[in-house]
Symmetry: C2
Subunit: 152 residues, 2 copies
DNA sequence: ATACATGCAAAGTATTTGCAATAAA
DNA sequence: TTTATTGCAAATACTTTGCATGTAT
């Protein structure tokens, strides 16, 4: 038996002296338990059900703080709101350009696609992002495809 | 001698029946000639010098159209405005998280990092994006680092 | 000639901020 | 008790839209 990813992150944050308000715990738990890559809006909606008075400002505050602390990831896109990912292990994403759904895919270790030219620029690289864009199975069959709003 | 990337794209668009207004040509030329990955604002500013009456709406319209046509790429980020890339060949980016500067890096062919799991999801993948985040040489030495606004 | 692009100003959306009230440590 | 976080409302930043005018083909 191993502790949930949520419990692990929580302990980690506590040991780092991060203040753990109920709001933060709920947001973190939700992100660690879902695989949905929700938007701030969806997180707000979800967490509101248990904690009615929470505000969007707190949701955004918390998401930034957790991202900065490295326990979640922010995925930003040009034409839709950012999505948040509780899976902090190394992986890539499959993004549906029609409905916005995001799926996780395993990803080769970073060394696989780093080149000497990369280092030649002298950047101190801390992280990377690999994403594939396309149409998900649902949106391929339903000719027109559902909008970003409907499912995902 | 080979035709400039701009001339090539222009001919390509013409043959595809795309209406080539002076505004569009200027924006496209600028993007094909710079390696700066400018924002919409920067493009507007630059093109305004030759074509004073151009509007932001036209800049955005054009950027979307050109992206859709596949001759440029849009790079969106969470905390700053999108940047546009006239280099339509396969490559990755090095992004400075301090000043926002974006550099091109060669990138292995897509097959190098696709896995069976990727296909198992059934997505029809059309494109991908690979980005490395870190601190550029300039921002590493200048301890505090310049802000997104200053240089890049 | 005509469909499509432009430019303006107004609207929209996502996200951020200031600040007084509140609660975690 | 102290200092960071919350929640509200107002503000900002970026991007999009409606519509009358203009223009590339």
């Amino acid at each position: 038996m191993h502790r949930s990813s949520f419990a692990k992150s929580l302990a980690d944050l506590k040991s780092r002296g991060v203040r753990l308000t109920p709001q933060r715990q709920m947001i973190l738990r939700y992100l660690k338990e879902t695989h949905e890559h929700p938007t701030a809006e969806q997180i707000y909606h979800q967490v509101s059900q248990e904690f009615a008075s929470i505000s969007m400002a707190t949701v955004y505050n918390t998401l930034h703080r957790l991202t900065e602390l490295g326990v979640i990831r922010e995925l930003s896109y040009g034409d839709m709101s950012s999505r948040y990912d509780g899976n902090d292990s190394e992986h890539a994403h499959l993004v549906c350009e029609v409905c916005g759904k995001v799926a996780d895919v395993p990803c080769p270790p970073i060394e696989r696609f780093t080149s000497p030219e990369l280092f030649a620029h002298g950047y101190a690289v801390g992280s990377y992002r690999l994403e594939f864009y396309g149409h998900c199975p649902d949106c391929q069959q339903s000719g027109a495809g559902q909008r970003d709003s409907e499912l995902n």
